[in-house]
């Protein structure tokens, strides 16, 4: 056995700068795309799970749900579901980051002359692509069960933009958790936490039907702002809350994700850097 050589001098020396960060980030995004092609199981499972929840709430619980404003529950449900799937994305991000950490793949990246932040960029880009696919599938699923957006294309795109903005903020929550936690139990814990966070919002249920203090928490849940804003943009019925945070949902649907990003992006980057400590 002899091993051919390839000297380092024959490839570009620079690994810093925006150009390499983007190039390496894109290489790693494509790695995730290859995963989807070679092993589509987990993604199909994730999509099927979301579709199942839509079916459950539409046909199983939907009959009993009465909105305070008297609107149609399907119409109410779907924007909530769109945001909910973004929340469920956290554990996908966490699982991917934690798997690379556990296998030593992250260490290999860190020992290579590649742009240092590119693994995080690649993760974020891949997860955003999948979020887009998920949103499209959810919208098609909604149309199939009778959801109708009462809005023009511009407003639909604006709603999609707000929903994906939330996902982008949550990517950094997921990255941070994946770097900070160890092992598969951590991923399961994140998955479990998604439910109380998701249900304690206006995604499925009107907060006005909850005990006062609980309703207030649900109203201030960042998810609720995105859901309320999406309902407004999509021309779907809301639940008629009149708290400040509900009346300013459109603003808060931008403010909350930005706040989350301002907290979790630096945390994730610092955590990644501190792997060297």
């Amino acid at each position: 056995m002899t091993i051919g050589t390839l000297t380092p001098g024959s490839v570009p020396a620079r690994s810093g700068g925006l150009r390499w960060t983007l190039a390496d980030g894109w290489t790693l995004t494509r790695r995730s795309l290859s995963h989807w092609v070679r092993d589509p199981g987990p993604l199909i499972a994730s999509l099927a799970f979301n579709v199942l929840i839509v079916l459950m709430f539409t046909y199983l619980f939907g009959g009993q749900m009465r909105l305070p404003g008297g609107g149609d529950y399907h119409e109410f449900l779907m924007p909530g579901m769109f945001a909910m799937t973004m929340l469920f994305g956290i554990s996908l991000t966490t699982a991917a980051v934690a798997a690379d950490m556990e296998r030593g793949v992250t260490d290999r990246f860190r020992s290579m002359p590649m742009a240092s932040m590119s693994p995080l960029i690649g993760r974020a880009a891949a997860d955003m692509l999948f979020a887009l696919v998920t949103l499209v599938v959810m919208m098609l699923c909604g149309l199939a069960v009778g959801w109708r957006p009462g809005a023009d294309a511009g407003r639909i795109l604006a709603a999609a933009g707000l929903i994906l903005l939330l996902r982008f903020a949550l990517v950094w929550v997921g990255v941070y958790l994946g770097l900070a936690m160890k092992g598969k139990e951590a991923v399961a814990a994140v998955q479990t936490m998604e439910f109380p966070f998701g249900f304690l919002s206006c995604a499925f249920i009107a907060p006005s039907t909850m005990p006062g203090w609980l309703g207030a928490i649900a109203e201030w849940n960042p998810l609720s702002s995105t859901v309320t804003a999406a309902r407004e943009l999509l021309g779907n019925p809301g639940w008629g809350g009149d708290a400040w945070v509900v009346r300013n949902a459109m603003t808060m649907a931008v403010v909350w994700p930005v706040v989350l990003m301002l907290i979790f992006m630096p945390l994730a980057v610092a955590k990644y850097r501190s792997l060297r400590a």
Binding site: M1, T2, I3, G4, T5, L6, T7, P8, V11, P12, A13, S15, G16, W20, A23, D24, T27, L28, R31, S34, H35, R38, D39, R103, G104, V105, D107, R108, F109, R110, S111, M112, P113, M114, S118, L275, R276, A277
Partner: protein, 350 residues
């Protein structure tokens, strides 16, 4: 420090105030293989991770391939390969996709990354399985892929952290063969291991680490004369024969056997290998002593430590105990005459 590919001077690393490295020194000449041998917790992985720029350190200096590890990490990364304690490859992708991915991340363009991937797959004997997902690979194949990925840009220095842990003898041989061919290509290798035999077979020199320091260094031969050479173990059938067997073995070997009544075993250090073994067998036979098992083997790391530090390795209570049970219970030491007795310690581990 031109002629040294790796220089570590007084390396210190603290974890929560406790030193993992406590003034570790290492100088590895270019183009040589250095074995870093030590028990669990000696600081092997910490040393490798510091030298591979994965970990900051709290004191001392380190240079790899002529660049300062602390201040010139990017330059160091272009010149090193790292094979960590577990195979750091993507399980979902195929072997080829892995190598192309890492090639792209070394900034080869697409065509070159693919050509290099094919070349390496062939050289590491993975061309047949290159398109299969890595999760279908055997342990040895994964390790070879891991090695191949570390060789995309021919590294000046390659770090191997316990590269054969968990592999069967065949997988181990595959990895050893791969390492040897890297060395022929001029790469300097730092190899950590808990197996004396592995260090012995692959290294030009061995450094023995304990509690964050290098406590002995030399060529395998030099070390063997200081830490004690090969050993012969004899298990007698009747425990009452043990003292007589010990006397006979002492005469042949010129050493002082240690006795283990529970296992009906005696163990002695020897100078000659196969010759002494044959003579021991003849002597025991002539004395009419019933022998159940006899084996020639390298000293275990535990014995080396006992010799160097006067105490057993920290892992000896747990893992060592199991090892004894394994050997005694299955009688795996039927390796007499093969001259390869040391493999028993690894078979038990595997």
């Amino acid at each position: 420090m031109g002629d040294f590919a790796i220089v570590a001077k007084g390396l210190r690393k603290l974890y929560g105030g406790k030193p993992a490295l406590d003034g570790l020194n290492l100088r590895v000449p270019q183009g040589t293989v250095r074995g870093l041998l030590g028990p669990n917790g000696a600081g092997k992985t910490t040393t490798v991770r510091i030298l591979a720029t994965l970990l900051r350190f709290d004191g001392g200096r380190a240079e790899v391939a002529g660049h300062d590890v602390a201040t010139q990490a990017a330059l160091v990364r272009r010149r090193i390969g790292l094979v960590g304690q577990n195979a750091a490859v993507d399980e979902v992708l195929s072997g080829r996709q892995n190598l192309v991915l890492f090639g792209r991340l070394f900034h080869l363009d697409g065509g070159r990354a693919r050509r290099r991937a094919d070349e390496l797959l062939e050289q590491f004997g993975l061309d047949d399985t290159g398109s299969q997902p890595v999760r279908t690979y055997s342990g040895g194949m994964r390790r070879r892929l891991d090695l191949a990925a570390s060789m995309i840009l021919t590294p000046s220095v390659l770090f191997l952290d316990e590269p054969t842990v968990g592999l069967d003898p065949r997988g181990r041989n595959e990895v050893w063969e791969a390492v040897r061919s890297l060395v022929r290509a001029g790469t300097t290798v730092l190899l950590t291991t808990q197996y004396l035999e592995e260090a012995d077979r692959l290294s030009d020199r061995i450094s023995i680490a304990d509690t964050g320091k290098v406590i002995a260094e030399g060529t395998p031969d030099e070390l063997k004369s200081t830490i004690g050479g090969d050993r012969i173990d004899v298990v007698v059938r009747d425990p009452r024969d043990l003292p007589r067997a010990a006397a006979a073995v002492a005469r042949v070997s010129g050493g002082e056997p240690t006795l283990d009544d529970d296992r009906r075993m005696l163990s002695v250090q020897v100078r000659g290998r196969v010759g002494t073994l044959a003579e021991t067998i003849r002597t025991l036979d002539a004395a009419g002593l019933g022998v159940e098992d006899i084996a020639l083997r390298r000293p275990t790391l535990d014995e080396v430590f006992l010799h160097l530090t006067g105490r057993r390795t920290q892992s000896a209570d747990g893992a060592g105990g199991e090892e004894k049970a394994g050997k005694g219970g299955t009688g795996r030491k039927g390796a007499a005459g093969t001259g390869d007795g040391a493999r028993t310690e690894q078979e038990v581990e595997a």
